[in-house]
């Protein structure tokens, strides 16, 4: 029994310490966004890796998600003669929820893993120590550019996913459900307009759908970098860090999505 308590104490302490280190790393990385020197070249390189590099999977994810949404919902809606509302369903689902979350999960799998692996292998080959020794703060040089790039690129990728998902739904609506593209797009617009506008221009649903990816971008970058910098034990350690980064980022994205949705509904919709 005593051993069990000691073991529990050990794991709780380790978890608390982990959260503390993660928070400190995040605060430092965010603070360095506004501190000189600015590593613009590294930031642009990361934006290219995160944004342009993820474009393929994001396009495919958006397209097939939109298509399958339209296809699945058409079965139920046809029974009630409500297929004209397919655009509403696809538009709302994609913009509010599926666009941001699926984009974030795909990028977490691709980019978050890459960040953990790259920083992890730099750690075990003493390259992080070399940066320190050369008088360069590894957080400023490695973490901040990745964080900044993810914060900028995730909303852009989400807009692309949303657009392609709506287009995918339109393909099914036109080809399989005999709706016109115009009718479908009017239906999409209507659902976005129903939520109201911010500054009379931006639909509230769209705004809510663009606030989420900023948080998700932060989670992906910080989780990848945190586990990368925590790597110990050679190449095996790199593998462990990579897996942990993807799993933790995915869970955090889904959990934070729930709480963000609650907050955004209470602020923007209610």
């Amino acid at each position: 029994m005593g051993r069990l308590v000691a073991l529990l104490e050990f794991y709780v302490k380790r978890a608390v310490l982990g959260v503390q280190e993660y928070t400190v790393l995040t605060v430092k990385a965010m603070r360095y966004i506004l501190a000189r020197p600015f590593y613009w070249r590294d930031t642009l390189q990361q934006m290219d890796r995160i944004g342009v590099g993820s474009l393929g999977i994001v396009l495919l994810t958006g397209l097939f998600t939109g298509m399958v949404l339209a296809l699945q919902s058409s079965i139920e809606m046809r029974r009630f003669g409500a297929t004209i509302y397919i655009g509403r369903l696809v538009g709302a689902s994609a913009v509010r929820e599926l666009g941001p979350v699926l984009t974030a999960l795909m990028v977490a799998g691709r980019v978050g893993a890459g960040m953990a692996a790259q920083l992890g292998s730099m750690k075990v080959t003493e390259q992080i120590d070399a940066l320190n020794v050369l008088g360069v703060d590894p957080i400023k040089k490695l973490v901040t550019p990745r964080l900044l790039a993810a914060l900028i690129m995730l909303p852009i990728l989400t807009i692309i996913t949303d657009t392609v998902a709506i287009f995918g739904g339109m393909l099914i609506a036109v080809v399989k459900l005999d709706l016109t593209a115009d009718l479908y797009m009017r239906s999409v617009y209507q659902t976005l307009a129903d939520s109201g506008f911010v500054f009379q221009i931006i639909p509230k649903d769209v705004l809510a759908g663009l606030i989420k990816p900023i948080f998700f971008g932060g989670i992906i970058a910080m989780t990848g970098c945190y586990f990368g910098l925590q790597t110990r034990g050679g190449t095996e350690g790199v593998g462990v860090s990579t897996t942990r980064a993807v799993v933790t980022a995915s869970i955090l994205i889904l959990a934070v999505d729930y709480f963000l949705t609650q907050v955004l509904i209470s602020i923007l919709i209610e």
């Binding site: 020197p37 292998s121 730099m122 080959t125 003493e126 390259q127 120590d129 070399a130 320190n132 020794v133 050369l134 008088g135 360069v136 703060d137």
Partner: protein, 264 residues
């Protein structure tokens, strides 16, 4: 012809010439460090004067590289002081420590070259980070640093570290360490993992750098032949403490059984 007589001073205001000691550049005072229950270092003290080369020797796992990490403040001791060029680095902020580190160059055991950067970019890295130099000036200094380690910029400059041999990586690591003209050079096992011929070449290179750059060096190694060749003083670690401190001649003549076992 009479033998020249040593000059005698009749004026009491003129004192006899004294040997002027060089200033201490690296100093460790009563360092203690433990990782959990595992005591690593106990009451470690030494000083390295400007232009000297201290070698820290001992069997694997005795804490030699840990001392280098303490000098660089990559680790902080449980108690004791590390004084670099007059500054107790454990009392400094992180930003201040980064500035102190710019006075040092470190040659890592496995070179620790940035694998996504070319040889040129690796050597140029500290120059671009800390100096306002034009690209032409950077290129000139990179070429000089590579030249000092007998490497050609034209031949190797645009290769990635993965395309280099072990000896070449070590040389590029040294070139990167000296590119920003540091006051202090730290070497972590500079000959480990190299064949004997390349190892001897690296030893000759270190000797040449000590001579030409007049840097202060701290060398961690268990290769006694290399240590005897490059150091002016040797500290031997054992049981978490310094068990011997002296010149290469003194260590060679020591009858301490631990020292003899290691030297022989």
């Amino acid at each position: 012809m009479d033998d020249p007589q040593p000059p005698t001073h009749t004026d009491p205001s003129i004192s006899a010439p004294t040997h002027v000691l060089e200033p201490v550049v690296v100093e460790a005072r009563n360092l203690y460090l433990a990782f959990g229950a595992n005591q690593v270092l106990e009451d470690i003290s030494f000083e390295v004067r400007e232009g000297d080369a201290l070698a820290i020797v001992g069997v694997s796992g005795v804490g030699k590289s840990t001392i280098l990490k303490l000098i660089l403040r990559l680790l902080v001791p449980d108690s004791g002081q590390v004084i670099i060029d007059g500054e107790d680095i454990n009392q400094l902020t992180f930003e201040e420590v980064l500035k102190v580190r710019q006075k040092m160059g470190m040659v890592f055991q496995a070179s620790a070259l940035f694998d996504s950067l070319s040889v040129f970019e690796n050597v140029a890295f500290p120059l671009r980070e800390h100096f306002q130099l034009t690209e032409a000036e950077v290129a000139e200094r990179v070429e000089t640093a590579l030249g000092m380690v007998d490497l050609s910029l034209e031949e190797l400059g645009y290769r990635l570290p993965a395309e280099l041999s072990g000896g070449q990586k070590k040389r590029v690591g040294i070139a990167r360490a000296i590119a920003h003209q540091p006051k202090i050079l730290l070497y972590d096992e500079p000959t480990t993992g190299l064949d004997p011929v390349t190892g001897r070449t690296i030893v000759r290179l270190i000797q040449r750098l000590e001579r030409e750059l007049e840097v202060t060096s701290v060398v961690v190694s268990h290769d006694m032949r290399a240590v005897l060749a490059v150091s002016t003083h040797i500290a031997m670690l054992g049981d978490c403490r310094i068990i011997f401190y002296g010149t290469p001649e003194e260590i060679a003549a020591s009858d301490n059984p631990h020292v003899r076992e290691f030297v022989e």
